[in-house]
Symmetry: D2
Amino acid sequence: MSKELRIGLIGYGFMGRTHSNGYKRVGDFFPDLAYRPVLQTICGRTEENAKAFADQWGYASYETDWRKVIARDDIDAVDICTPNDSHAEIAIAAAEAGKMILCEKPLARTTEEGQPMVDAVEKAGVANTVWYNYRRVPAVTLAKALIDEGRLGRIFHYRANFLQDWTINADLPQGGAALWRLDVKAAGSGVTGDLLAHCIDTAMWLNGGIADVSAMTETFVKQRMHNLTGKVEEVGIDDACAFHCHFDNGSLGLFESTRYARGHKALYTLEINGEHASIRWDLHDLNRLEYFDHRDDSVVRGWRSVHITDGDMPYMDKWWVPGLCIGYEHTFVHQVADFLAAVEKGEPCRPTFRDALETGKVCDAVLASARERAWKDTGVDWQA
Amino acid sequence: MSKELRIGLIGYGFMGRTHSNGYKRVGDFFPDLAYRPVLQTICGRTEENAKAFADQWGYASYETDWRKVIARDDIDAVDICTPNDSHAEIAIAAAEAGKMILCEKPLARTTEEGQPMVDAVEKAGVANTVWYNYRRVPAVTLAKALIDEGRLGRIFHYRANFLQDWTINADLPQGGAALWRLDVKAAGSGVTGDLLAHCIDTAMWLNGGIADVSAMTETFVKQRMHNLTGKVEEVGIDDACAFHCHFDNGSLGLFESTRYARGHKALYTLEINGEHASIRWDLHDLNRLEYFDHRDDSVVRGWRSVHITDGDMPYMDKWWVPGLCIGYEHTFVHQVADFLAAVEKGEPCRPTFRDALETGKVCDAVLASARERAWKDTGVDWQA
Amino acid sequence: MSKELRIGLIGYGFMGRTHSNGYKRVGDFFPDLAYRPVLQTICGRTEENAKAFADQWGYASYETDWRKVIARDDIDAVDICTPNDSHAEIAIAAAEAGKMILCEKPLARTTEEGQPMVDAVEKAGVANTVWYNYRRVPAVTLAKALIDEGRLGRIFHYRANFLQDWTINADLPQGGAALWRLDVKAAGSGVTGDLLAHCIDTAMWLNGGIADVSAMTETFVKQRMHNLTGKVEEVGIDDACAFHCHFDNGSLGLFESTRYARGHKALYTLEINGEHASIRWDLHDLNRLEYFDHRDDSVVRGWRSVHITDGDMPYMDKWWVPGLCIGYEHTFVHQVADFLAAVEKGEPCRPTFRDALETGKVCDAVLASARERAWKDTGVDWQA
Amino acid sequence: MSKELRIGLIGYGFMGRTHSNGYKRVGDFFPDLAYRPVLQTICGRTEENAKAFADQWGYASYETDWRKVIARDDIDAVDICTPNDSHAEIAIAAAEAGKMILCEKPLARTTEEGQPMVDAVEKAGVANTVWYNYRRVPAVTLAKALIDEGRLGRIFHYRANFLQDWTINADLPQGGAALWRLDVKAAGSGVTGDLLAHCIDTAMWLNGGIADVSAMTETFVKQRMHNLTGKVEEVGIDDACAFHCHFDNGSLGLFESTRYARGHKALYTLEINGEHASIRWDLHDLNRLEYFDHRDDSVVRGWRSVHITDGDMPYMDKWWVPGLCIGYEHTFVHQVADFLAAVEKGEPCRPTFRDALETGKVCDAVLASARERAWKDTGVDWQA
């Protein structure tokens, strides 16, 4: 019989839903885990919303003050889904209370803010993970395995984009509720922390540390009405960001993110070019991995579109049958499963807070490089 | 507060899992429904398996005799996920017991077998539906809306394929457990009832009744070891089937299905060509609908790859945000949601048993046409 | 120094241009051929047009009566680009005059009409070929090589489409000049002889003879103004045609063609599914061949998109460098090159008149099957 | 009757072939031009090769000293297809001799070397053009028209890649014949002048001047055997180069080129994101333009794959019929046609030497930025 792992979820926005779904699905599809999540409480500042969320998703209770969640004895793990500016305070308190912590990405708004979070979880010795969920798209997980097997050989190039188009309208306000991502105080940065952080996490996982960066950012719409003040205010976030970089392994990186790429909703793409083989992936068609192997017979050599649905693909023995797609939400189920397995084994569930701090260092260097129009060392010490 | 609708699931194979997942997810994503499914019991012949399934999925009980499920007062709806040869007996008994019925497709092995099922549910006046789930892929549901709006104009062509490759190996046995689909006694037919039935259901839904057919079938591997007898026996199913046909609206249809198309796992594709516009869809990339409109400016006229993830697409306001994919299993969640909404309104949930019987008539005509090498009228009376 | 092979071209329409271009380009790109084509004369009924064509393309002379071309001593080869109803008369006369013959496809309107053409060239012993040019798309030529190497193993399925949309407009007239393809008297049939004939030629070349067929045809627009009579007349051609068939090797074939598939201009696609591997090709992206090999490692197994531009691909050492596309017209250059090489070696240049007659037999059987709503044997005796 | 424009071609490598083909084809497909090119002479240092080229392509004579070509009275235009290090000397001499000049790209190895070339042609008042041929891919030409019509609205992003993989093998030597592109003395730079120069020319044509750049270059293989010295020597070229930049119109640019992207042969891709619409194009599938328009109805809004083959597309009325592809070589035919038309009208044929000099300024700034690890202003003054 599996043991309970009682969750206290803080925040009920988009990520509150994806995490809740992860907790509720994991037992149906990963029946052999020693732990099973229990939806113990959900916390949100607006009581009416918290209660409604608890009812809809089946949480046993709700709270309106996150400190109470941490104070409760019947909570084993705290899941932080609040805007970025509150991650540090909650996480440090939770660590001090001995709770396991699952924190939404990015870890914090800055390295300065994130370092004490790492210190706190490591001092407390509590299980911790950050929801860089795209590692757990089966196609991306497979890419990692192919690289680790050495199939690509020496790596020359890594490139990643994360393109969206949802803030082109200049009438869109900033701040509050669903729009805190446009408010630099709440978010810390724009596309860099929101989207490039994903790209950087995946990149370092697949290709090792990023040593230095040269970046450019832009804010296309300079002022927007602020929902919290009711006034038109300066926009402090980066609407778009591009950078090139060197990886520790000598390969070159090229990254770009924007919310002004008309026609793209969540086009996270990555490509790795190695001496022998190359890999491409695209979030809009997440069940496919494209693979090119120069060692193929030349007359039948080409990019292979691998439909990642067979049972011998990562995680896919848990789902359906060959040819049948899974979707975005499954990445969170996978992360929950891996987290529970890690707790069982007493191992870290990567990316940990420490891993996410390194990703944050790259983000900081990117923003500094753009500000100062100069190359910046990242200071990253990436642990494979 | 929503009302309980207590489910008795019969069969715990692949479809038992997809349906169970549908029942468990629907409340999280469709919170406004008046009814909520309750996993009351699961029935399977092997007690150990039935119990394990109940444990994994959270059914409140299990049974090993389907008659007991039907006899229970605490069951509102019976869900039939058994092999095709038992659909009729179970469904008729369930109808006579006044249960709602959700039956896996195809309705029955033949029209002869299916007709009493329709009679039974109609006589009993019980809610009934058949799990032709692909109608509820959002892209396919959108296709229906576009056609009903008249965007395509007069229809000239409808073509659909369902291509797989999982039975090429001649050493694969037939019969029993996961392989009953190769046993003509259990399945009634091969790809015709298994795969083409899906294509036909979607086709008639989108394009109206099929009047007559001319078909060809083939059994590439003539003999296979039979799991139930332990002997090598004749293979009675069709490994492949192709037919052309006339729709009632004067358009031409072309259908093909096989389990011998190396490289395709579940490649259900459909295309409709109209006077003004055309539509294509493909299960391997189910989040996309391709659309061509001749009324576009000629210099920018081309097939549009519409990524069906925005909130104004069918069902998609229930899920995530633009750009984020859903998968195969969501079609069952949608059908559960629509079934519950139909029960609430006292309306039929299409496709009903009657609809599925018409699909069966086409299948029968196809098999007869192939056998007799002659065109066959289907006798279909399709109700839009 | 290469020897002259003096061409007399009869017809100056679309095909007159593609062939002329073939003759003019071949020496630049295939410099090692023993023969070089010389544009000796062009023949067309309208003097003004014939003269203009001669001027534009650099023909040394022009004629207005094809009999004069055949009578000329300075003509080695006659190229027939006229509408289908005149192929037989011209070809037989040319053969009797001892000319080599290159004839546009289809060979003739019917087998009955084509047989004497075959008899004539074989009796005369003159070099002959029919312009089924798609065999010489490098990707298709490569497909032939892959099949001949046995890479696909036993073949289960062959399917081909040729979809266009240019006659949907009911105001389009029939007959005369560019529209003779809609006039049954000139063309013999509609899409069957025009488009399916291409598909059938490729199919039998790649997969062997077609034994029997079951077909359906449709004429969507029943009457059109006739350009030659000025009156609205019955449309005698097939606007659309679909058939399924058995190949001699036991595989199943499925073919479809139409001029009413909105959104497709010249979408000739073919796919072959074998025991071990499958192949797909598409004229709209003619530089690519898609290839799936089940013997690949399962984790990197997928359809390969092979960009057929490297020098080790068929014909491609003659053109540019890897990655750079060629187009439609190159197929005619290739056929000219192969014809000249065949003349040099005294070998047939396939497809010969005899090959094309077999293709015509399938077309005839298809039309008869559709007319009589019955399976028809083709009587084909295909020579590999 | 058209007038002769007698060509003296200097260099008989890959570009000598593409240009020769352009001259030979143009009259067949653009019959209304006032001028027709005459292949008067071909010049190469090795007599045997020059003679063979003249024979193959039909040049009336050959030379082995380019000065003789310029000295000849029967040459109207000099076409420079030699390695980059000789462009300046030949072009200046040709201008001084009053010849029209068609020069392969890049104009020169550096701005310093290119400026006197511009001065010379402008002083002499001779027609001049540089073979940035990708402007004349019909899909790219169409992109220009769509942008000029204002369909995209304000531009936010421009990104372009040119990815190859042909120099990964460390055993490949540098220098001489086909490998002068790896020799920094002959080429001036690596991918920057060879590939990015194409991307920059197209980009400024479509989106206006590039103001400043921040770049990174890499030489992956540091030493290669030199064909001209027989010794292993330092590699002086850039194997890979990436840069980001600001356009004068405020949009952001991102460019990358490499010869180490395994799996790509000549993958020149470009994408432009505007306020209302976006455009994508890819040289590997050059007959397609992808177009997204946000003003489409949301339910059928998606990237349109426009197959650029209809007669109302740029240049396409000269070729075949809808659906039938053209290839790489046609871009040179188009440039010849446009050059001849410009000569007739007395107008410049863009890109002129002056235009190409501006492109060279960006290349210089890119290389300087990479060397100095700093942003560089380009000094470009782009004329629309």
